[in-house]
Every structure is written in C-alpha cells, then in structure tokens.
C-alpha cells in the first residue's frame, strides 16, 4: 500500500491556519480600534461578543430579557448544528492563540503530546452547567470565564499595557542612540494607537492569562479542552452535525498518530470512539495520517453517534454548586451600603441589574480616553470583580465623551448620547479642607475650578481667612462644591496638585443610577426658591 499523507487535507489545514490568523487579526484590529475615533460616535467595535451564544444565553437568563444585539449568536449555533465546532477550530481568536502556543510548545518539546484515555474533557460541561444554573438565580459569572471576555480583558488590562511599556522603553532607546526621527515616528505611531497603559489589576489579570497559556505545555489547547464553557455549549450543539470522521480500515495502519496529535482529545481512533462534541475540525488527524486514511465525508443522516459522556451525578453536583454559589457570592455589604469608591461609568444600570448584565469584558476600559475605567477588585463584592469602575487618580470622565456607553456589548452601560450623559451624575466631589492648599495654607491654587468642565462651574469660591502656622493671615479664594452642578466627573481630583491623596475627590454618593446612594432630601422646590 502506498504510504502518503493527504494533500487535500494538508491544504485544508493550511487554509484553516490562515483563516484563524485572519480572525485573530480581525479581533486584534477591532481591539486596537476601540478608542476615540476622532468623532463622538464609534462603530460596532464590540460586534464579536454578539456571536457568542453562551454570553447571549447567560445574560438573557440572568437579566430575564432578550437581547436583539445577540442575534448573530443564533448563526453561531446554526453553523455548529450543521458543521460542528468549526467556530472553535477556525474562528475563535482565543482558540487560535492557544493553538499557536501549543504548536510552539510542541516544537520546543515543552509539550509532548500523548494518547489520553481520560474523560477530563467533561470538566467544561460541568463549568457550563455551573454558569447556567447560577444565571438562573441571577448570578452572572460567565464574564470570568467566557473566552471572548477572558481574551479581551486580558489583552486590554495586561498584554497591551505590558507591550506599551516595552514600546516606550524601545522608543527611549532610539532617542538615546540619537535616532531622533525614527524615535519620533515610533512615538507618534504609539500615540496614535491610544493604548491605555495603566491598570490596577493588570498584573494579576495578565498573570492569569499567562498561566492559562502556559497550561498548554501540559495539554494541547488546555483551555478549549477542559475549561471553555462556549466550547462545551457548542460541543452539545454539534451532536447532529453532518461532518463525521471516517477512518478507512483498509488504509489505517493503527499507528495512533491521529489520536496523539488531536488538538482537543476527540479520539479519532478508533473510529467509533471519535467524539464529535470534542472535534473542532482542525483536520490535523487527516493531514497527519501517514496513509491518508481519515476523511470527513458530509452525510445528512447517519447512525447516532456517541453524545457527550457526562456523569449525571457530577452534572447534578455542579448544578447544585452553581445554585449554592449565589448566596456565597452575596455575603458582602455592597447591597447594604454603596461603596464610596465604586464609581460606575455613566449610563451604568442600577447595581443589581448592572451585575446581571456586565460580562467583565473590558471594552469600556479600552475605549476610555483617559484610562479612568479600571477593573474593580473588592469594591463591588465578589460578583463585581473585574467590573468597571472609575479611578479618578488615574483618569477622569471626559465631559464630551460617551464612548464607554456605546461599546458595552450587553448594555450593562446603557448607550447614551453626549447630551444624555451630561444629565447624569456618577458621583459627587468633596473638598478635603485639611489638605486643600488655599484652605490649609492660604496660597492661591484653583486648579480644580479651572478644570471643572460644567457651565456654570460646579466649583465655586469662598473668600476665606486662613491663619498659617507662622501666624500670617491670608485671604485666598478657596473651593466649595455646588452639588446641583457637580456630575462627579473627577477631573478636579485628577488634576489636584496635592499628588498623593488629592484634596478634592469624588465618591459615589449622589449617583443618578441609584435610589439608595443619596444623601440630600429630594423634595419639590417651591416657587419662591430662586436658586
């Protein structure tokens, strides 16, 4: 018998790699394009989130409403019903990334693939059950583990900031070696990318990302095999698809190469052991087969193939865990009393609804022109880890910007025009008179007032008398806040010359989205009130 690898499948495999590269490229370009585009409104840079049926499903379940925006997810399901998990093998950018690193680790012998008989690939189905069941009880944890959220968040808060640091050092070196014009080109190129480079949890999110990439040294496409809830969902949907693996018994020499090198442990050999739910149609098996014995003929009706072999006991157990997680996630004071630091982006829904919708993807963190939007850690309780909040010491809410409201893929931040956004309060500014330069030392300053973007300004002046430590009495203008005007944008805090802990700062109280996080009695003003 002639021993020859299949030319056809090797071409298909090359095509698949090209298409994976293309889709990763699209993901990356959309990521980079998620910044101020030069005008007030930005195009649909968040579109690929809407192709994710798991995000669609959990958000729909947790929020109890259908999302038209998620319509493309139906196409993903339809394609999977017909062709199996091609979305995982050909399109998913995170899959492409894991596969690339698996390839690198194999080439460098850090990963030595072997034939595996275990059934650990079922983990991801239990994870999916956990996520779906907790969503039924309004806890939306999918954002932690959804592949698109995971990838996007990791790139925004970890990979890009790290890369920009490297880029800045490189540019600095160019100037050091007097290559000024190249340095200028580099610097302007970088400014044009408009990357937010400062993130409170960039290190941790980046470390988790690197850890998951490194897990590819133990198993090829570790994430896709064991963790990915989207892979699990598509695996369940792929059961009836028309592309079935077929091994020609006359040609097969039972070498086992196909099973060893299968990217996702779909067990191509023996034929009856092949699991369509695990197969991502990368066609590595057919391309690697030394005798061209493996093919994927399209058949409309075929004998019922093995479905996902889930243990009922574990399924019930993981569902119960998903249920039990709900109270555990909510042992936190955040529902009793608002956190002063938890300043949500403008347009954010009331906290409970916000948490049901936010998928922690990081779109808003990427698009924010001042880098103000940061992933929360403890401020919003365990449920709110990595949800967006504004840190005014890093950035502030730019007055004429509503970009974060436009890119939110789930509407956790409601889409707003700039005029609508400027009607909202995200918090309230306070002057710390113990630290404020005019209040404390009697010196002129007014930087906060200068930067206050509203008209008339929310920061007004009092002419005060201050006795300095040396006894000298001064009469500077000192800032006070006009609550009716203050939107909580935080530029005053950001620009305050008292560097370490600004003498003017914003807390969340008074935010428009909350009924409870208020302080002043809101009664109808009488006619006589001319204020």
């Amino acid at each position: 018998m002639k021993k020859e690898r299949s030319k056809k499948y090797r071409i298909i495999q090359t095509a698949r790699i090209l298409i994976q590269t293309l889709f990763f490229g699209i993901f990356f370009v959309l990521l980079l394009k998620t910044h101020f585009p030069g005008e007030d409104y930005i195009s649909n840079v968040e579109a690929f989130f809407h192709w994710d049926p798991v995000l669609a499903l959990t958000t729909t379940i947790a929020y109890r409403a259908l999302f038209i925006a998620f319509l493309p997810a139906v196409i993903t399901i339809a394609v999977t019903l017909i062709l199996g998990r091609v979305a995982c093998g050909w399109i998913c950018p995170l899959g492409a990334l894991h596969q690339f690193f698996s390839f690198v680790f194999k080439k460098t012998k850090l990963l030595r693939p072997k034939k595996l008989q275990d059934n650990h690939t079922t983990w991801k189905y239990y994870i999916l059950a956990f996520v779906l069941v907790s969503a039924v009880f309004t806890l939306d944890v999918v954002g932690f583990i959804d592949p698109f959220s995971f990838l996007y968040r990791s790139f925004v808060t970890g990979v890009l900031p790290a890369a920009s640091y490297g880029f800045s050092v490189l540019t600095g070196l160019l100037y050091r070696f007097n290559l000024v014009s190249i340095g200028d080109t580099f610097a302007q190129f970088f400014e044009n990318l408009d990357v937010n480079a400062t993130f409170l949890q960039g290190f941790f999110i980046g470390t988790i990302f690197i850890g998951l990439v490194l897990l590819n040294t133990t198993r090829e496409r570790f994430w896709c095999r064991y963790i990915c809830p989207l892979g699990a969902f598509l695996g369940l949907a792929s059961r009836w698809n028309i592309l079935t693996l077929k091994i020609d018994p006359d040609r097969c020499i039972e070498c086992g190469l196909c099973t060893i090198h299968c990217q996702t442990q779909a067990n191509p050999y023996p034929n009856e052991g092949w699991r369509s739910s695990e197969c991502v149609y990368c066609f590595t098996c057919s391309a690697i087969c030394p005798t061209d014995a493996i093919s994927f003929p399209a058949k409309l009706s075929h004998e019922r193939i093995e479905s996902v072999n889930l243990s009922r006991r574990r399924l019930i157990f993981s569902s119960i865990l998903g249920f039990l997680a709900v109270p555990f996630f909510r042992i936190t004071p955040v529902s009793m009393r608002a956190s002063e630091k938890l300043i949500r982006p403008p347009g954010a829904l009331p906290e409970a609804q916000f948490l049901q919708k936010c998928v922690k993807c990081g779109e808003c963190m990427k698009v924010c022109p001042t880098n103000a939007i940061q992933p929360a850690l403890t401020e919003a309780g365990p449920e709110g880890i990595w949800t967006p909040m504004l840190n005014m010491e890093i950035g502030y809410c730019d007055y004429y910007c509503s970009l974060c409201t436009q890119v939110c893929p789930t509407g956790a931040i409601k889409e707003l025009t700039i005029e609508e956004k400027n009607q909202l309060k995200i918090g309230t500014a306070w002057v710390n008179r113990n630290r404020c330069i005019p209040w404390k030392f009697g010196d002129p300053c007014i930087v906060c007032e200068e930067h206050c973007p509203v008209s008339p300004k929310a920061i007004k002046f009092l002419k005060i008398e201050v006795q300095r430590p040396d006894g000298v009495v001064k009469t500077p203008l000192a800032p006070v806040i006009d609550l009716d005007q203050c939107t909580g944008c935080g530029i005053c805090e950001n620009k305050c010359p008292v560097v370490d802990a600004p003498a003017i700062y914003v807390t969340s109280v008074g935010e428009s989205r909350s009924e409870k996080n208020q302080m002043l009695l809101d009664i109808i003003k009488t006619e006589e009130d001319t204020y």
């Binding site: 600095g172 044009n192 022109p369 002129p444 008209s455 010359p497």
Partner: protein, 286 residues
C-alpha cells in the same frame, strides 16, 4: 532708538526697508483667516518674521476638549492662516503643538485645529513625552522646569493664544499660553501663576504673538461650555511685544491692563509695554 540709530550706519542693502512698523495690529472682520493674514501684513508681512528654511513652531491653545464655537481653544482658521503664511515664506517645516489638558487625541480633533493645520501643510504631532527635558528657565522665580524641547529647537516661535477669562489670572491670553509648552507639575505653578507666566514667556520669547479674539470667552473660563459663555468679537491682534498684545486683549473684557497683576508686573520689570495710549496701534476692519 539706539538700535535704530546703529542700524542706519549699516549698509542699506542689508536693510532695504527701514519703514517703521506699528507696535500692534488690531484687525477686525468676518473671516478669521483674512483678519489673521491682514494683521501679519500690517506688521510688515510674514517675511519680516519668518525666513526661508526656518523651522517654525506654532503654539495655539488646544488645551480643551471643546469645539471652536465654545471658544476654549484657538480658532482653527486662525491657526491655518498662520501655517499658510509660514509656508508662503518658505519655512522648512511648520509644527503645531500644544501640551493639552484633556487627552490630546480628543482636543486636537474636536478643536478642529489638527485638521485645519494639516490641510495647510503643517505637522501636528501629539506631545511626545520623550521630548520633555528639564531645562534652565533662569527666570526671576522659576529656575528650571520640564520643557517640550520642540519649542526650544525651533528657529521661530509663533504664539497663538485665544482670549479667555480665568479665575486666577483673571484673563488668559499670550503669557498664560506658555503653560502648554511645558510639562512637569504645572498645576503647582498656580501658586505663583503671575510670576510663572512672565518667566515662561521670557524663556520662550515668541517671534510673534497673534491673539485670537474672533470669539472670546467671557464667562466660565478657561473652558466655557455653554455657547453663551463665548462672545463673537471678530478681532485678531498681532504684535512682537507679547505684553502689549495681552494688554490690548484685556481691554476687550473691559479691563485696564494695569488691573491685571501679571501685566502690571511685566511692565514694571520692563518685559513689555502696557501703556496702550502711547503705543502705535494700527486698527482696521477688513
């Protein structure tokens, strides 16, 4: 006068025109571009200031994320007219730059200045942190500060501020505009703002100052916000004496120059003149 006298002894071919130019040109009219060009022409034309092959840097106020109608940033057409003039004078390169307060990407775009200046052939780079260098200011109050070297390396500097109110210096025009050419903790300069403005202006020493008063910001400065905060004034002032330019600018707000502490100080120090009645001011409407 002594300088003028010395010049007379030099060969006349070196100085073919010995015509006396006005100290200030105050031009009014409907077109920001036209009044700008007319103002420069009144002072003797761009070639009096810009020579062939010069590297010119233009410093508008692009500080705020505001549109031209809000009059928080210099009028883009004024900037564009200046770039065109410099190009006409065969400047080697014209750079328009400001260290903005809101993110440069936003202010450059929404002020309309980046687009207008690029159309006229200028380079409009974002402020480059690698160009920041601590330099000796050698002022009376500021000894050294972080400066964008672009302004130091240029052959000629043109300052193009817009006239606005300000809570601390009362008005912000040409001298205050230099806070956009520096980096470092410039928000601390407010503790001695009047002095800082003078030192910085003396350090950068613009070749020419063009005050954009096409729209002036009369309330809620230096950002404004509501369109009613701005007033249409349809004026441009040009001058070499940057103190005198600010002095005449003050009158647009009904303020006498000597009422502004920084102008009073600058005049006492002999930096420039604020005695408007004695200055040769050419006013015209085009």
């Amino acid at each position: 006068m002594a300088v003028g006298g010395a010049l007379l002894h030099l060969p006349s071919r070196l100085f073919p025109q010995t015509k006396a130019y006005p100290d200030l040109a105050l031009i009014q009219g409907d077109s920001p571009s036209r009044i700008t060009k007319e103002a420069v022409a009144t002072l003797g034309g761009i070639k009096r200031f810009i020579s062939k092959g010069d590297l010119v840097i233009i410093k508008p106020n692009i500080g705020w994320d505001r549109t031209p109608e809000q009059a928080a940033c210099t009028n883009p057409e004024v900037v564009k007219a200046l770039v065109e003039l410099c190009k006409d004078a065969d400047a080697k390169e014209v750079i328009v730059l400001d260290n903005t307060i809101n993110p440069a990407r936003r202010t450059y775009a929404r002020s309309g200045i980046a687009k207008a200046a690029k159309e006229a052939g200028a380079k409009v780079p974002y402020p480059n942190p690698h160009h920041v260098k601590k330099m000796a200011i050698n002022g009376e109050w500021i000894k050294e500060w972080d400066v964008y070297t672009d302004f130091v390396e240029a052959d000629k500097i043109i300052n193009v501020p817009i006239a606005k109110t300000h809570s601390l210096s009362r008005l912000t025009m040409g001298l205050k505009n230099w806070l956009g050419a520096i980096d470092g903790p410039r928000n601390q300069l407010h503790q001695a703002l009047d002095f800082a403005m003078i030192d910085l202006a003396n350090f950068f020493k613009p070749t020419l100052t063009i005050l954009d008063a096409y729209r002036i910001l009369v309330r809620n400065g230096p950002q404004g916000g509501r369109l009613s905060d701005a007033e249409l004034h349809k004026t441009v002032v040009a001058g070499v004496d940057y103190v005198a330019v600010d002095a005449i600018g003050a009158t647009f707000f009904g303020i006498k120059p000597e009422e502004l502490r920084y102008l009073d100080l600058a005049s006492q120090k002999g930096v420039g003149r604020i005695d408007l009645e004695k200055l040769n001011i050419e006013k015209r409407t085009v």
